[in-house]
Symmetry: C2
C-alpha cells in the first residue's frame, strides 16, 4: 500500500499550499504597501540586470541549438533596453489607481440598509504562457497591484530568463511587507504538471492561458478552474459606400500591415457592393504595394487581377501574416451577418461617413471591440488606458477584451445596518 | 456505415440549432419590444390558468404516488394565488430598467478616440433546475429582459407544470415581435441528455444550475460551457464583545429561525470570548425556546447545558434545518479566520457597536455579502433591489451574490474615431 512519490504532484502541492495564504496577505495589504512592493521589485530587477541577461543568453544559445525561428528568438531576446522597458511597465502598473476597495455601486435597500458593491481581489491567479519573458513581469505586477497572488508557468524556451526574473521579483518582495510566495514560478518543465495544477480549484481561482491555439485548447479541456481565454483574432474592417476613400486606405493599411502578427490585425476586408468598382482597385493597389497577398470572393476578383480566389476556409482564418481576404457585401446588414458569422468576435470596424449606419453596425456586431472610423489595432490595454494588460479576453463572461487590474478583481456586497432583521 | 439515431442528441441539436438566431433577435430588439413581449407572456399565463393548474395537478398526483416529501410537494404546488404572484414577478422584471446598452464607463483614449464600455446581452443561457415551477417563469423573464435567449431544463417532478408554463410563455412570444424560440424547454426527461447539452459551447454561452449539491457538482464536472454556480451557504454571525445583547438575539433568531431551509440562513454562531458568560446563556435560551438544536465547542459547552458537543464536521455543514453550531473566538481576527476557513463565502455578519472593528471584519471576511448589524437573510435579489434573481452566485468570476439582469449581460468596447490609425 505504499504511495508512489510523484515529483510533479509534489511540486503542485508545494505551490498550492503556500499560494492561498500569500494571496490573502496581499489582499489585506494596504495600497501603499502594494505600491512599495512593486517598487522594490523594480529595483531588484535593476540590481539583477547582469544575471538576468546571462540567463537570457543561455535561453538564446539553446534556442539557436534547437533552430528556433528568428521571430521566436526575437521574442525571447532581452537586452538592457528591453529590460528597462519591462521595469518601466512594472512602474506604470504600480502607478495605476488602486482597484481594490473601489465602490462600484451604492444604494439604500430594504429597510434602510446601506448597500455597497465593492471591488476585491480574485485570489490566486495562474498564468500559463509561452515564450516572451516580459509576460512574466507584466503578469506578476498586474496581479500584485490588484491584490492577488499568482502562479506563473512560462514556456520551456524561456526557462532560464523566467527563473532569473522571478528570482529578482522575489528578492524585491523579500524587501517589502508582502510575502515572497505571492509570486511563484512553476519550476518543473514537464508538461504533465499542467493538468495536475489545473485540477486544483481549491487553491487557484482563475487560469489565464496566453499563447497559441494548442495551448489554449489544452488548458480549456482539462481545467477545473475557471479560464479566461486569450484566443485568436479574426478581425475585419467594412468599407461602407459612404466611406472616405483616403481614410479607408489608411485604416486598412494600418490594420493589416503595421504589425500583421498580432490578434487585433485584420484578416478580412468587407467592401460595399456600391463602391466595388470605384474604391476596390485603389485599395487593392495600396495593399499590393505594401506586399499583401489578396484573396477575393467572386464579386471582388474581377476588380483585382493580382488576387487569388478566396476559399470558404479563408473567411475564418487568422493568417497572422501579410495576407488579406476580401469579400463584397450588399449593405451594412450583410456586413454585420458576415462579421458575426465568420469573425472571432474580437475587434471589427466600419468606415463610413454615415453616423446612422455606423451606430447600427456598432450595436449589432457582437465583438469585444467595435470601431467606427478607426483601426482595429487599438484593441490593447495600453491604448485603452488600462496601463498594462494581462491579455485580451475572448470570453464573454467576467472580462471581455483588454483585461487589466480592474478585471483581476471580483466584488462583494457590503451591507451596513442598525439591527435590521428580515420580515 | 449507417449512423445510429440518438433521440437525445436529436433533441439537443434541435434546441441548439434555433437558440442562437433567436437570441440574436432578442439582443437586437428594442427595449419596448422586450417589455411588450414580457407583458404578452404575462397575459398568456393569465389566459392559461386553468390548463396550467390541471397540469400541476398531474404533477401533484404523481408526487403523491412517488411519496415525495411534503416540503417537495409544497414547493411544487401551484394555485391561483401562487400563479398570480408568478405573473406579478414577471411584470416586476419587465418594469426593471433596461440593462442593455447601459454605458458602464466612457473616456477619451489614445489619439482622441472616444471609448465606451457598453452592456450587451450574454447570448444563450441554459438554466438547469429542480422542482419549483416559479423558477421557469422567473428565469425566462430575466433572460428576455436582459436581451438573452434561454434553454430551460426543469426537474422531472414538475414536468407537466413546466410544459404548461412554457407553452403559455411561447404563446405570449407568438403575440410579440420576439421569436418563439427565444424561450425553449428541454422536453426529453432522460438525464443522459444533460451532458450532451453541456458539451454545446458553440450554442450556449452560460449555464446556471439551481438545485442541490448533486446537481451542481454533476453540471460542473461535465460542462464545457462556463457555469455560474448557485451553491450552498454555510453562513455565520459573529457577536463581538461590544454587541448590543438585544440586537444580537433578534438578528441571530432572524438569521437562523425565520426560514432555516434557505442558503442565507446561518449555520454557525461565533461568540467573543469576552462575553461568553455574560451573553451566551441568554442567546442560547432564546434559540432553544425557538426549537433550535445547539452544538457547541469546548469553551461554549459549559454555558449551554442543553447543547451537544460540536464536531469538526459541524463547522462546514449546511444544515438547512433548526440546528446551529456555536464557537467561541478570541477577537475579530479570530472570527475572520474562522469564517474564511469554515464558511462557504456566501453571507456573514458581525454584530458590534464598534465601527472600527466592524470595518475590519467587512474588509477581511471574503464573502459575497458581508453584514454589520443586520441579518444575513437579506442576501436576495429582491431585497437588494434587483427585481428578481436568477440565483445567488457562489462563483468569484463574472457574478458574485444575488444575480439579476445586469449580471446576465456582458459588455463590449465601442470606439468612435475620425480616421485614427495606430502609430
Amino acid at each position: 500500500m505504499s504511495e508512489v512519490t510523484n515529483p510533479l504532484r509534489e511540486e503542485v502541492d508545494r505551490l498550492c499550499s503556500v499560494s492561498r495564504p500569500a494571496a490573502a496577505a496581499v489582499a489585506a495589504a494596504s495600497d501603499s504597501d502594494r505600491v512599495a512592493a512593486l517598487e522594490a521589485c523594480a529595483q531588484a530587477i535593476e540590481a539583477d540586470v547582469s544575471s538576468i541577461l546571462s540567463a537570457n543568453a543561455k535561453d538564446l544559445s539553446e534556442a539557436a541549438a534547437n533552430h528556433l525561428s528568428s521571430a521566436m528568438v526575437d521574442r525571447l531576446k532581452l537586452d538592457e533596453r528591453r529590460l528597462a522597458s519591462i521595469v518601466a511597465d512594472l512602474r506604470a502598473v504600480a502607478s495605476q489607481p488602486d482597484p481594490v476597495g473601489r465602490i462600484r455601486e451604492q444604494r439604500l435597500i430594504s429597510q434602510g440598509l446601506r448597500l455597497e458593491k465593492v471591488s476585491v481581489p480574485l485570489g490566486v491567479i495562474a498564468v500559463i504562457f509561452e515564450s516572451r519573458p516580459n509576460v512574466t513581469v507584466d503578469c506578476a505586477a498586474l496581479c500584485l497591484r490588484s491584490g492577488n497572488g499568482c502562479i506563473l508557468r512560462g514556456g520551456r524556451e524561456a526557462v532560464h530568463s523566467n527563473r532569473a526574473l522571478v528570482t529578482a521579483l522575489r528578492k524585491g518582495l523579500a524587501n517589502s511587507s508582502l510575502p515572497v510566495d505571492s509570486v511563484q514560478l512553476v519550476m518543473e518543465q514537464d508538461r504533465a504538471l499542467v493538468p495536475l495544477l489545473l485540477a486544483r480549484d481549491d487553491a487557484i481561482d482563475l487560469v489565464i492561458p496566453r499563447g497559441g491555439e494548442g495551448l489554449i485548447r489544452s488548458v480549456c479541456e482539462v481545467s477545473r478552474i475557471p479560464v479566461v481565454k486569450h484566443d485568436k483574432g479574426v478581425c475585419s474592417l467594412y468599407v461602407h459606400r459612404e466611406a472616405d476613400l483616403a481614410m479607408a486606405i489608411e485604416l486598412i493599411l494600418n490594420a493589416k500591415v503595421q504589425r500583421p502578427g498580432v490578434c487585433n490585425a485584420i484578416e478580412n476586408l468587407l467592401i460595399d457592393a456600391a463602391i466595388l468598382e470605384s474604391h476596390l482597385p485603389a485599395i487593392a493597389k495600396a495593399l499590393l504595394a505594401a506586399g499583401v497577398e489578396l484573396r477575393c470572393d467572386e464579386r471582388c476578383l474581377p476588380m483585382v487581377p493580382e488576387a487569388k480566389p478566396a476559399s470558404e476556409e479563408d473567411w475564418g482564418t487568422e493568417y497572422l501574416d501579410l495576407i488579406l481576404s476580401i469579400a463584397c457585401v450588399d449593405d451594412v446588414d450583410d456586413a454585420i451577418v458576415f462579421t458575426n458569422h465568420h469573425g472571432s468576435h474580437h475587434s471589427d470596424g466600419i468606415i463610413t461617413g454615415n453616423a446612422m449606419i455606423a451606430e447600427r453596425y456598432l450595436r449589432l456586431v457582437d465583438s469585444a471591440a467595435v470601431y467606427h472610423n478607426a483601426s482595429t489595432r487599438f484593441t490593447d490595454g495600453g491604448q485603452f488606458g488600462l496601463g498594462a494588460e494581462v491579455g485580451i479576453s475572448t470570453n464573454r463572461l467576467h472580462a471581455r477584451g483588454p483585461m487589466g487590474i480592474e478585471e483581476l478583481c471580483t466584488y462583494k456586497f457590503v451591507v451596513r445596518g442598525e439591527g435590521q432583521a428580515r420580515t
